[in-house]
């Protein structure tokens, strides 16, 4: 079981919470306390609005342990409106065929169980085609 490593990321993972650099105003995800753009200290939290577009995507058929029961699933690089790219699954695609540039919005979903069905559920951000 890997409880603390997931617990300590709860807020950023549930709600896509990163940081904003007080010096150059860059929005940062994941939070890293040092702005990757200007090198200044950046510890101000910033909740992303969850909107973005698909930068790239692919579908995984041969999944790692913990994801094998949900395969096949689609992962993407999503370009957030505020700038950063994030890696996340696309969900609720239904008949929608994803494409580069497709607008998406953040939802919070089950990522996987920590271990088997006895383990903790890990929730986090995913993206779906925008509903409106």
């Amino acid at each position: 079981m890997e409880i603390p490593r997931h617990w300590r990321l709860n807020q950023q993972r549930y709600g896509l919470v990163g940081e904003v650099c007080p010096h150059c105003e860059a929005k940062i995800f994941p939070p890293r306390d040092i702005c990757p753009h200007c090198g200044g200290e950046a510890k101000t939290t910033y909740a992303f609005n969850g909107r973005g577009e698909v930068f790239s995507f692919t579908t995984i058929y041969e999944a790692p342990t913990g994801f094998d029961e949900t395969a096949p699933y689609t992962v993407a690089l999503v370009k957030l409106e505020e700038g950063p790219l994030v890696t996340a699954q696309l969900t609720d695609l239904g008949e929608t065929r994803p494409e580069i540039g497709m607008p998406v919005e953040m939802v919070t979903r089950k990522l996987r169980s920590d271990g088997d069905e006895r383990g903790m559920l890990i929730y986090g951000y995913k993206f779906r085609p925008v509903m409106r």
């Binding site: 939802v107 979903r109 089950k110 559920l121």
Partner: protein, 354 residues
């Protein structure tokens, strides 16, 4: 007779409401195809909503609550309670509500608990929230009811047991989209439906679930509240009843003297099934999506075991400007991917992996 109404000393209402219905739909005829040789007469609904592999009551609650917050436009740090009713919480022990409270930014200065009362766990949470706000203990409280309901394969409930629900930010009446004028609860020990600890699927009393359970409690709750308030069905623009199938809520409405038109916007079970703790309140959200200022709404939930909560609600002039701030219930219903029974069995974890 003592006053039986549940009515806060300080007027309260719905500051924000939100709903969620997952994307997948299982037609009832698919269940019939697999279990009764395709016999399609008397199917209880057209189709039901089914959650995806990465959804559960936590994720669905979160989306419904986020929608409610968008309409409420309040600071989540001012929320003093997050109460979520469901019979399908993903953990047997560990609250759904703590996860939701953390994710919306309401933690840590907050009450958090999960409610359980079969299909009325959501309205139970609403009454509690009314009490907390109405007493002045809190400015805002979140009450939600959602389920990913399980029906035993081949059982009558498998046609209807669905996923979805709604959430409300309850707050002061002066900030509300709709005021809650009063509520009334009618509860008895009636074993029409239950699920024992460690059992995967519920048991039910077949026709016993009808007259002595659903109809007795629903009509008593509605009737008693109207008598106490001195109202009659024609005073209400809209009415919503718990909807385990398509037929029951229509009959309950008729027994109390409501017209088909009054229950039309809130009657969702034919196309999404019975969302259990979410059923009546989803109907309320769909009704609020179309209601106008001044409209009066009667809602009656029903939970097996058994009891009903009745509510008397009046839409304020704040509704029209705020209802478009989040997705509407019919937006979710329109988002639809039909699945067959095999995919349903996979999504609901009914395929034995070990």
């Amino acid at each position: 007779m003592p006053d039986t109404l549940l009515k806060p000393s300080r007027p309260v209402g719905i500051v924000g409401y939100g709903s969620y219905v997952p994307r997948y739909r299982l037609p009832a005829k698919e269940v019939a195809r697999v279990w009764v040789g395709g016999r399609a007469s008397g199917l209880p609904i057209k189709e039901k909503a089914v959650a995806g592999l990465d959804e559960d009551v936590v994720t669905m609650s979160l989306e419904a609550v986020r929608n409610a917050l968008k309409r409420a436009g309040i600071d989540p740090a001012e929320i003093r309670a997050v109460w979520i009713g469901s019979e399908s919480h993903p953990y047997a022990v560990k609250p759904t509500s703590t996860i939701v409270a953390e994710a919306i930014g309401a933690a840590p200065n907050v009450q958090a608990a999960d409610m359980e009362f079969a299909c009325k766990a959501g309205t139970e949470a609403m009454v509690m929230a009314m009490g907390l706000v109405g007493s002045g203990m809190a400015r805002y409280a979140v009450a939600a009811g959602l389920d990913t309901a399980q029906g035993k394969p081949g059982d009558a409930l498998e046609y209807t047991a669905a996923a979805g629900g709604a959430a409300f930010v309850i707050g002061p009446a002066e900030e509300s989209l709709a005021t809650i004028n009063a509520s009334y609860s009618y509860v008895t020990d009636t074993p029409d439906f239950w699920r024992r600890e460690y059992q995967r699927y519920p048991e039910h009393g077949n026709r016993f679930t009808g007259e002595p359970a659903y109809f007795k409690h629903s009509t008593a709750a509605g009737k008693t509240m109207m008598e106490a308030l001195g109202t009659k069905p024609s005073d209400y623009t809209w009415a919503i009843f718990h909807q385990p199938n398509a037929k029951f809520p229509q009959r309950a409405a008729s027994l109390l003297g409501f017209t088909p038109e009054q229950i039309r916007p809130g009657l969702l079970s034919p196309v999404i099934g019975n969302t259990y703790a979410g059923a009546a309140i989803l109907g309320l959200t769909a009704t609020l999506d179309v209601a106008q200022p001044g409209d009066r709404i009667l809602m009656v939930s029903f939970g097996s075991g058994a009891g009903s909560d009745a509510f008397d609600i009046t839409v304020t002039d704040k509704l029209p400007e705020r209802r478009d701030k989040a997705l509407k219930t019919q937006d979710y219903i329109a988002r639809r991917t039909e699945i067959d029974y095999a995919m349903y069995a996979r999504l609901r974890g009914k395929i034995a992996m070990k």
